[in-house]
């Protein structure tokens, strides 16, 4: 099972190689796709074996970049912008609402495993701030009410 996924990831990444070993980042990214949002250590080790590089090569990438993670932690990852354009547009209240509604702080997961809350530097939508991204979906022009409604929609499964 793990091996199959790792092979798939390597296959996908290799297609995009222009140079030998320029696709290690891509491998880690494809592993995240294969495993649904994370890359478990055993998969990293296996991939390293196939690539004939030291496991630390992949491990360091999976731990350095903020979008990569070793464990599946929550069904949905909420990334809320904490930088200035969003801040001056009322982002502080959005962050407070999120923390209050979810009853967690940054980097934590709700007890039901539904949400993880992360901060993000900038989503590049500063003209419609405050913004947040849930998994791959962007939500803009946020207000506390909108945030509450969005969370509710995820909880009820209206949005998958």
């Amino acid at each position: 099972m793990v091996e199959e996924k790792v092979r798939n990831a390597l296959e996908k990444a290799k297609e995009k190689a222009l140079e030998e070993k320029d696709y290690i980042m891509e491998v880690v990214r494809c592993l995240h796709e294969q495993f649904g949002g994370y890359a478990p250590p055993e998969a990293l080790e296996l991939a390293a074996q196939f690539l004939e590089v030291s496991p630390s090569k992949l491990y360091e990438i999976a731990t350095f970049y903020s979008l990569y993670t070793l464990r599946k932690e929550a069904k949905h990852v909420i990334r809320v912008c904490t930088s200035l354009p969003c801040h001056v547009a009322g982002g502080r209240e959005i962050i407070e609402t999120l923390k209050k509604e979810l009853n967690i702080d940054f980097g934590q997961v709700t007890p039901d495993g539904m949400f993880k809350l992360e901060e993000v530097g900038c989503l590049g939508r500063c003209d419609t701030s405050p913004n947040m991204m849930v998994d791959g979906t962007l939500y803009k022009d946020l207000t506390s009410e909108k945030v509450t409604a969005i969370l509710e929609a995820y909880r009820k499964g209206v949005i998958e």
Partner: protein, 601 residues
């Protein structure tokens, strides 16, 4: 066939472009008009806060929804009447029919980089070709020698739009002169500066312009392979780039023997993973090579030793989007815009406290006043302009008194800030400058890669001092230490991230030192933004006792009966401001310094 354009830029998609398009198709079908119109989904039309947009014969409709579209089809397309209520308005409330030509936001703009945005369908290469796309590449391959291409770009005076402003032609020349059988051409699309989003708009709205620029650069320097490094936070840009690369390969604008010549060039996309530092060129290269995105010492510069030790040119998205235009129109035409030392245009992203937010492309040398007041429509809600922040966390603030300075690379540096990638955040009287500095430092602390000590430790210590000051716990020595640290971090950090990180602190200290002193000495926040230094108070003369604030208060800090004056218990109040937001009678206001905890007001 007549054309209807719908903006399918990121912000409009998020605002419901898909539903608008669906409604348009349905309405046209209902009226039997579907075969008469071609619907073109374009890239960003610029004024993202007013989307989704639809353009029919230069008439611009904004802020659309499904019923609005139905009405426009019925009245405009069938009845020939322009539907006033969906037209764009000036900040004064006047409707503008042909907004892209007549609205102040667009009038002063010069479109070179954004020439195709809002006009072509970025998913269709034919649209790009129809607007002279890939003509420049053809000209270069068939009529020009690599040296001539470099000469043309050098004469144009184009400077890197990623922030540092290094002359592009010179960079190419350095790489071209290197003797190596392998060279690389890299496009830096890791746009991470908070407040900047022009690269995203170009990638989403006109990806072929970037590919054409890369191919021309590759020809000039002698590279056969290229990478585009895009951040993962831009999924739509990645998708459109993929489509564009595929189409360009099919038409032989990329790949082996481009346009039947000896020149071959291939591009692959590399996706970042949420590390701001990867926008720094040596960190970006490390990331492409499958390592942690950490910078290294320069020299050697990438043009000498870049990817896998080979000569590599790294250009920013906006820089590359200029190339084909310069080749087609000539360097003289490009120099008609901008200043002697900073020719051409720059795309700025207007955000913050300004009426018209969005992307604007203007000639360099324009003043901030023109940018913010003429184009941006000024500060909303009758507030006063306090300062302008440029260049994101690497830049600084410019006080309102200096907004008549013409903007170019040198003038901004002289003011203590930088051009950066072109983010412009407008701040009004409600924004606290210490808070702004603290904000950017927090960002830098999070994004510092940790490799060199001045950046890793220095930014953290600076942040801690700023945090103390905003809490009213700072001392005058703190301000001195802050200034000293800022200089050390600036001078001794390894890469651009650390070298520029102190700019927000240094400029706020330079222009708004009195605000720092107020926080320290009087324990007040003049802008009434820092929570530890303010209290919310109810004005008994204005309060009607409607209970709205009492209901919304999360900590039950407000007491009062219906129709009687309410009071806020300062010991329970967490200063979230919810009460002030809901009060319809302006009865709640902020005071600084804060009231003593046991007083009821």
């Amino acid at each position: 066939m007549k054309e209807i354009r719908i903006c399918a830029g990121g912000a409009c998609v998020a605002a419901g472009e898909f539903a608008v398009k669906g409604a348009l198709v349905k309405a046209l079908k209902d009226k039997g008009l579907l075969s008469e119109y071609k619907i073109i989904e374009t890239g960003c039309m610029g004024m993202c806060s007013r989307g989704p947009f639809m353009v029919i014969d230069d008439v611009v409709y904004s802020q659309l929804n499904q019923s609005a579209v139905k009405e426009i089809v019925e009245k405009h397309l069938v009845g020939g009447q322009i539907v006033d209520k969906y037209l764009m308005k000036t900040p004064e409330g006047k409707t503008v029919e042909k907004a892209f030509k007549e609205h102040d936001f667009y009038k002063k703009q010069v479109k070179i980089v954004t020439r195709n945005l809002g006009i072509i369908n970025p998913k269709n290469i034919d649209d790009y070709i129809e607007r002279d796309g890939y003509k420049a590449l053809e000209k270069v391959l068939k009529e020009m020698k690599p040296e001539e291409v470099i000469e043309e770009i050098k004469k144009s005076g184009l400077r890197g739009r990623g922030g540092a402003g290094f002359p592009t032609g010179l960079k190419w020349e350095f790489a071209a002169k290197q003797k190596s059988d392998t060279k690389y051409m890299v496009c830096n699309a890791d746009e991470g500066d908070p407040g900047a989003f022009m690269d995203r708009a170009v990638l989403e709205g006109d990806p072929h312009a970037v590919l054409e620029g890369m191919a021309i650069a590759a020809y000039a320097i002698g590279a056969k392979k290229g990478f585009i490094y895009v951040r993962a936070e831009y999924p739509m840009a990645i998708e459109r780039l993929r489509t564009a690369i595929k189409q360009a390969k099919e038409r032989r604008f990329l790949g082996e023997n481009i346009l039947e010549t000896d020149f071959s060039f291939d591009i692959e996309i590399r996706i970042g993973a949420g590390a701001f530092v990867c926008g720094e060129e040596t960190a970006l290269m490390a990331s492409i090579m499958g390592e942690r995105g950490q910078p290294r010492v320069r020299p050697p510069y990438p043009v000498e030793k870049g990817l896998w030790g080979k000569p590599t040119v790294i250009n920013n998205v906006e820089t590359l989007a200029n190339i084909a235009w310069i080749i087609r129109n000539g360097w003289q035409e490009f120099r008609k815009y901008g200043t002697e030392k900073s020719p051409g245009t720059k795309v700025f992203a207007l955000a913050g406290k300004v009426k018209n937010t969005g992307l604007v492309e203007v000639p360099l040398g324009i003043t901030l006043r023109e940018l913010i007041f003429d184009i941006g429509g000024g500060v909303p809600n009758g507030k006063k302009l306090k300062a302008v922040q440029t260049g994101g966390p690497s830049g600084g603030v410019i006080p309102a008194s200096k907004i008549d300075t013409p903007i170019d690379y040198e003038s901004l540096t002289a003011l203590g800030t930088i051009m950066g990638s072109g983010g412009v955040i407008v701040l009004d009287e409600d924004d606290c400058m210490v808070d702004v500095a603290k904000f950017f430092l927090e960002f830098t602390v999070n994004e510092s890669c940790g490799k060199c000590t001045p950046c890793r430790e220095g930014t953290r210590t600076m942040y801690e001092i700023l945090d103390r000051i905003t809490k009213g716990e700072g001392t005058m020595e703190d301000i001195d230490t802050l200034e000293e640290l800022a200089v050390v971090v600036k001078e001794t950090s390894l890469c651009g991230l650390g070298q520029t990180a102190p700019n927000p602190v240094l400029t706020t200290l330079r222009y708004f030192r009195d605000e720092y002193i107020a926080h320290v000495k009087e324990k007040i926040c003049p802008a009434k933004k820092c929570r530890d230094l303010i209290s919310y108070v109810i004005d008994p003369d204005k309060c009607t006792g409607c209970t709205a604030c009492k209901i919304v208060c999360p900590t039950k800090a407000i007491e009062g009966e219906l129709n009687k004056v309410h009071v806020i218990h300062q010991d329970l109040c967490i200063r979230c401001g919810s009460c002030m937001d809901v009060c319809r009678f302006d009865a709640i206001y902020k005071v600084t310094p804060p009231l003593k905890v046991d007083t009821k007001v």
